[in-house]
């Protein structure tokens, strides 16, 4: 594996490409890699898309309270959002609540956050999970915080388009995941071994391309300092930003 970039930088670069040419990207709580990707997309687009990072005073455009994100999303004014899950299954269902029976859980996660609304109404939801294992990518989730697909008569302009993990990138369409590429240092056999659900894949699966030197420079020099406001620990750990600031 090329040791000149970190895994987080590869993922952020890929997510920035999935974001594409859109008007408004919102990033929820506890999502430092998507936040890196969204800020990277904004730097590449010279200020577009708008990037709203939940919880960040410097990177939000909301002036009407915490409900404004959901009101905007309900109208179709949010183009891209990110969700994760303690469990994600092959139908794109996500579980942010608990493992085991809901009334007698074995493990409790924080909760569903806005997923039970945003997953339905944001056109491009990018799933991310940095632990790719049979524990997290399961045949069937124990609790559906939000379903991957809905019955035909349910209002559903949005939903999942991709799932990115520490091992690979999947696309999602017609209720199934398809393996798109495997990250450097990982293999298709390893992905199959560590995925609890069935997925489609082409005969030859390409390697995920590494971030370019220009992208790495942009991420480290311009994006990382912006990230440190909301994710000080992540910025320090991945980009060494906090440490450099103290040394200076």
């Amino acid at each position: 594996m090329n040791a000149t970039f970190r895994p987080e930088e590869l993922l952020a670069d890929q997510i920035a490409q999935l974001i594409g040419d859109v008007r408004h990207v919102a990033v929820g709580n506890a999502s430092p890699i998507p936040a890196t990707a969204a800020l990277l997309a904004r730097e590449r687009g010279n200020g577009r898309p708008y990037v709203s990072l939940l919880g960040s005073p410097k990177n939000t455009f909301w002036t009407d309270g915490a409900r404004e994100l959901f009101d905007c999303a309900g109208q179709g004014r949010i183009d891209v959002f990110f969700l994760s899950g303690g469990q994600i299954d092959g139908q794109g269902n996500i579980n942010l609540v608990s493992v085991g029976d809901y009334d007698h859980p074995k493990v409790r996660f924080p909760g569903s956050f806005g997923s039970a609304h945003l997953y339905y109404v944001v056109p491009k939801v990018i799933l991310f999970r940095t632990e790719h294992s049979r524990r997290t990518l399961v045949p069937q989730v124990d609790f559906i915080s939000a379903p991957g697909a809905s019955a035909g008569n349910v209002y559903r302009p949005g939903g999942p388009v991709a799932l990115i993990t520490n091992r690979c990138l999947f696309s999602f369409a017609q209720g199934r995941f398809t393996l798109v590429s495997v990250h450097p240092g990982h293999t298709v056999a390893e992905v199959v071994e560590n995925t609890g659900f069935d997925f489609d894949r082409p005969d030859t699966v390409p390697e995920t391309p590494p971030p370019s030197p220009a992208t790495l420079k942009l991420m480290r020099e311009v994006v990382a300092p912006q990230l440190a406001e909301l994710y000080p620990q992540f910025a320090a750990h991945v980009f060494g930003v906090g440490i450099a600031a103290f040394a200076g």
Binding site: F70, G74, G111, I144, P147
Partner: protein
């Protein structure tokens, strides 16, 4: 005009928060009244129905760990970068609180219903989720304006008390909340609003049109108490940031029941270790 006595001591201001009351508090970055929360723990309030709009971190975890909460209604409890909320997780696994799992816009909408004085609010999404499945107080109807268009209805949440921390208030009970507009929604929906503030503003906040736009008018406000750094160790937006070192300390100590008890002794009851 003589100012009605809205500004009180903290303990006096918190009196309307009685055992069993329906209390709404804001999310972790909107002005969480932590000094007031520690005072409630010291007083030993019990059986709260706590609504965290729409999520919580240290505040819910501390109240749950201290045995103040009977029912929790929220979309998530977590210490964010500092990890899971340990007392919340323990209470769910030990089944010592009743959990009403929600999703963020459902709580915003249910409070907006109360704010408008209507019995419910419709919301998109939710259909087919287990969040909806486990909420027997939420209903699905066919939209009367659609054609076989199912939509969820959420009953209004009308809290007994809204409690939050804000940068300043004046002696007329007007509270400046700036752009944290969910604090206004909470106050509009609740029967009584209690605000702790960093300081008292001389004069009337409504006299200045720029300040007035970010001001919750005093007629919503039951009491105000001055608590400098009243959100600590959580942030007060645009004023001070979170005390990460302390939150990490809390996460470590609260990981066990014994450690949590020691935390409460030291930082809530202010009993310093020798």
């Amino acid at each position: 005009m003589t100012a009605f006595q809205t500004v009180k001591s903290l303990d006096e201001a918190l009196l309307p928060i009685v055992d069993g009351c329906l209390l709404v508090v804001p999310r972790e970055v909107s002005g969480v009244p932590m000094t007031a929360t520690r005072a409630l723990v010291r007083r030993g309030v019990r059986d709260l129905h706590l609504v965290a709009l729409p999520t919580s971190s240290l505040q819910a975890d501390l109240l749950i760990g201290a045995g103040c909460v009977a029912t929790l209604e929220t979309s998530a409890v977590s210490l964010g970068e500092y990890g899971p909320a340990p007392r919340f997780s323990a209470a769910i696994l030990g089944r010592t609180i009743t959990m009403k799992d929600a999703t963020c816009p459902a709580l915003h909408s249910a409070l907006q219903a109360a704010e408008k004085g209507v019995p419910f609010m419709p919301l998109r999404g939710l259909i087919g989720s287990d969040v909806l499945k486990y909420r027997d107080d939420w209903k699905v109807i066919d939209s009367p304006f659609g054609n076989a268009d199912p939509i969820v209805l959420l009953p209004a949440i009308k809290p007994d008390v809204a409690l939050f921390h804000a940068p300043m208030a004046d002696r007329f009970g007007n509270v400046w909340i700036g752009r944290q507009r969910e604090l206004a929604t909470m106050a509009h929906a609740a029967d009584k609003t209690i605000a702790t503030v960093e300081k008292i503003h001389d004069g009337n906040l409504l006299d200045d049109p720029i300040l007035a736009a970010g001001t919750l008018p005093g007629f919503y406000v039951e009491s105000v108490a001055v608590c400098e750094r009243g959100a600590w160790p959580l942030p007060l937006p645009d004023h001070y940031s979170a005390d990460g070192e302390h939150l990490a300390l809390y996460a470590r100590m609260a990981a066990t029941a014994e450690g949590f008890a020691e935390y409460v002794d030291r930082y809530v009851h202010d009993k310093r270790a020798a």
